[in-house]
């Protein structure tokens, strides 16, 4: 099947940028685009995309989630891969779309097919593309936070570290409780903001104790949560999505103005 062969050589990737990156930090989207292209992919960015529906799904609003999930399925079905710069959104599509349509054989099948070709960005680059950044410089020490969905639903752990290892000048520092939730939890951080604040407080203390210049991670929601707390506490740690560092696009950290 020559077509498949071609696809693997230069696969067509649909970039699902995620609603948070789209609205809050476009730089992560541009970094993802650059990395995927550098990794030999043809990248398309469907303009009809909005959100994977996770906020509704985790609020128990299954009926409100379904139209959003169907739209993502329809939009991204034509590509060889759906790639998202977020373990949480990729996990939603990969692990939860099939559950969402458990009682709907037609859509379940389509959801399962899309799930099979859906990937979180960093693990896609490392595992499926064998990619390593070249000639990327970042003279800094960094701590890495493993966001929960990526870690536990998708097994993203070694890949970001392997990629960051190839960045010249970057030194990863251990972070106490790196696998412990930062307290974001999507709508949880607003509905139960006081509990969320307590949890991210502990995280921020651990990040400061790590003493690194940068805090990196693979999920913008968690990063905004931690960055916002660090900033409120007066810490000087600069926070980036790992893709920004890997693409050499880590100029302005979260919250830094031009």
């Amino acid at each position: 099947m020559p077509e498949t062969g071609n696809a693997l050589e230069k696969p067509r990737v649909g970039l699902f940028v995620t609603c948070l990156v789209d609205s809050i930090r476009p730089n992560v989207g541009f970094a993802a685009l650059a990395l995927l292209e550098a990794a030999g992919c043809t990248v398309e960015i469907p303009l009809a995309q909005t959100c994977c529906g996770q906020p509704a799904y985790n609020s128990g609003a299954d009926d409100a989630t379904k139209p959003l999930a169907r739209a993502v399925i329809e939009t991204f079905e034509p590509y060889d891969y759906l790639v998202a710069p977020s373990g949480s959104c990729a996990g939603m599509i990969k692990a939860h779309y099939p559950e969402l349509f458990a009682d709907d054989p037609l859509w379940r099948e389509r959801a399962e097919k899309l799930a099979a070709k859906t990937h979180e960005l960093l693990s896609f680059l490392a595992d499926l593309r064998g990619f390593r950044p070249r000639n990327v410089l970042c003279k800094a020490t960094a701590a890495y936070h493993d966001s929960c969905s990526g870690l536990r639903e998708l097994g993203v752990k070694a890949q970001p570290r392997a990629l960051l290892d190839a960045v010249e000048g970057l030194e990863l520092r251990p972070l106490e409780g790196e696998e412990t939730c930062c307290g974001f939890g999507g709508t949880f951080s607003v509905k139960y903001s006081d509990i969320s604040a307590e949890i991210v407080g502990e995280k921020a203390r651990n990040v400061e104790a790590a003493g690194a210049d940068l805090l990196l991670g693979g999920d913008l929601g968690c990063l905004i949560n931690m960055a916002g707390k660090l900033r409120r506490d007066g810490a000087r740690t600069r926070v980036f999505h790992a893709a920004e560092v890997l693409a050499g696009m880590a100029d302005r950290a979260i919250g830094e103005e031009a």
């Binding site: 789209d22 509990i195 900033r231």
Partner: protein
């Protein structure tokens, strides 16, 4: 059996304001996490043991009726009396009637979460029976007039310093010092006489063994043996999900249960109790009663059978960021933490307890450490969906979700709203950050929020931007 859950937020606020609570919780759960991690790391094939444990429980759950019947027959043959209770009220009534029939005035009790679930402490008090809690931590919270805040360490919310104060205040013979040894010695003296005057001893059970009709208790302090052996009557209360096919199965599960709970290989006491004292036995109760409690479990069999695997090890509590932040009392049910947030809606009703499954980040660490691989996040989400469908969610929340989903399903409308919202939000920012977010004041009470960009990523892409 619990305080109404409507004031979850109030209880949370109270817990978060208590710096002592945080210290106490961190000591207990931090220790437990470290010890469990060491025990799991030292286990040659933990994952295989976990899979085997799941299979053992699933087998027992699938054939629950058969094994319960086998258990009943074998227990009867050993001389035990078996009672069936449909719900909490019935279970408590059976126990109280048995106490009354035996003419008891003093009742000793060794720690049992099922007892808390069915409201037994309260029922005993109402019946005018003097209840003596013999587990050290239960003794502490009895002195303090509290309920357990952890299923393994009921006094996890209290620091050692707190406990010293309680003992000084209430013990007939004050502790000689505030070191652990002196305090334990003081509690031992305080309880000693009651062990031998109590007419009835009440315990729970970790396992009900179908093939022998025995019940198994797993404890550390020896108080269970002193609660179940000297009194004339021993009453066991146990949930029907405690059933296992064989002694071998019970022992296999014990290995996982104990390591997950405390990190130890075994507890000090693993005791199988089978029937009353026989002719020629030197000790043991004359009457041995087993109260088998359903209380929602057959409903769970249909709705969430995985939850019936739960061994009550407490690992999910120790690893839960929410539990560690708010402690057990804030949950308002007999069982706190992730497992409690799944169980409390079964026992107390979903409308009452809808906050519990909602107040969770779904980070999945509970499932990761659960020795019987219960998909706790999935079950919590199941309750959220039920609650949303039933209209229990606050109107403002369900409306916000519905409106947002309406826009998100219409990309053109969504883009227009987004294009209007981003510049508007920027007006609230100072130097790259928003420190007071409209509609997000909960967030910005303790955290800043980054200033959003002028235009979204997709708007920039549409205009041909490349970075």
């Amino acid at each position: 059996m619990t305080a109404p859950a409507q004031d979850f937020h109030t209880r949370v606020e109270k817990a978060l304001r208590d710096p002592q609570l945080k210290i106490a919780l961190e000591r207990t759960t931090g220790n437990a996490r470290r010890k469990r991690a060491a025990a799991v790391a030292a286990w040659p094939d933990f994952e295989a043991a976990r899979a085997a444990a799941c299979a053992i429980k699933d087998h027992a759950i699938e054939h629950m009726a058969t094994y319960l019947e086998m258990f009943e027959n074998n227990a009867r043959a050993s001389g035990a009396q078996v009672h069936w209770a449909r719900d909490a009220g019935e279970a408590s009534r059976i126990v109280i009637d048995l106490c009354k029939a035996s003419g008891a005035k003093v009742v000793t009790r060794s720690k049992s979460m099922l007892g808390e679930e069915i409201g037994l402490p309260h029922a005993l008090a109402e019946a005018g029976l003097r209840r003596v809690e013999t587990d050290l931590a239960e003794h502490i919270i009895q002195l303090a007039g509290e309920t357990p805040s952890h299923i393994i360490w009921p006094a996890a919310h209290r620091t050692r310093e707190d406990v010293a104060k309680l003992f000084d205040q209430y013990h007939h013979e004050k502790p000689e010092g505030h070191d652990v040894v002196s305090m334990v010695a003081s509690a031992r003296k305080e309880l000693r006489a009651d062990f031998f005057t109590a007419e009835v001893g009440i315990s729970g059970a970790n396992f009900l063994v179908a093939e022998t009709g025995a019940i198994c208790t797993i404890t550390n302090e020896g108080n269970a043996e002193l609660t179940t052996t000297p009194p004339r009557v021993h009453i066991v209360t146990a949930g029907i999900e405690k059933i296992v096919a064989s002694t071998e199965h019970a022992l296999q599960l014990t290995r996982l249960l104990v390591r997950s709970a405390t990190g130890a290989d075994l507890t000090q006491y693993t005791t199988f109790h089978c029937g009353p004292k026989r002719a020629g036995d030197r000790d043991g109760p004359e009457e041995f009663h087993i109260v088998l409690v359903d209380h929602g479990r057959t409903r769970m069999l249909a709705e969430m059978p995985e939850m019936l695997r739960c061994l009550r090890c407490g690992a999910c509590l120790n690893h839960c960021v929410v539990y560690r932040a708010i402690g057990g009392h804030a949950y308002g049910g007999a069982y706190p933490g992730p497992m409690g947030s799944v169980l409390t809606p079964v026992f107390d009703g979903l409308e009452q307890s809808r906050d519990l499954p909602a107040a969770c980040t779904l980070n999945g660490q509970c499932k990761q450490v659960c020795p019987v691989d219960i998909p706790l996040p999935t079950l919590l989400r199941h309750w959220r969906a039920r609650s949303f469908r039933a209209g229990h969610e606050p109107k403002a929340v369900s409306l916000a979700i519905t409106i947002w989903a309406f826009f998100a399903a219409r990309p053109r409308l969504y883009r227009m709203a987004q294009a209007a919202a981003l510049p508007a939000l920027r007006l609230f920012a100072k130097g790259g950050w928003i420190s007071s977010l409209p509609l997000g004041s909960g967030w910005t009470a303790t955290r800043d929020f980054p200033k959003p960009p002028r235009q979204s990523f997709l708007a920039a892409i549409r205009k041909g931007a490349t970075r």
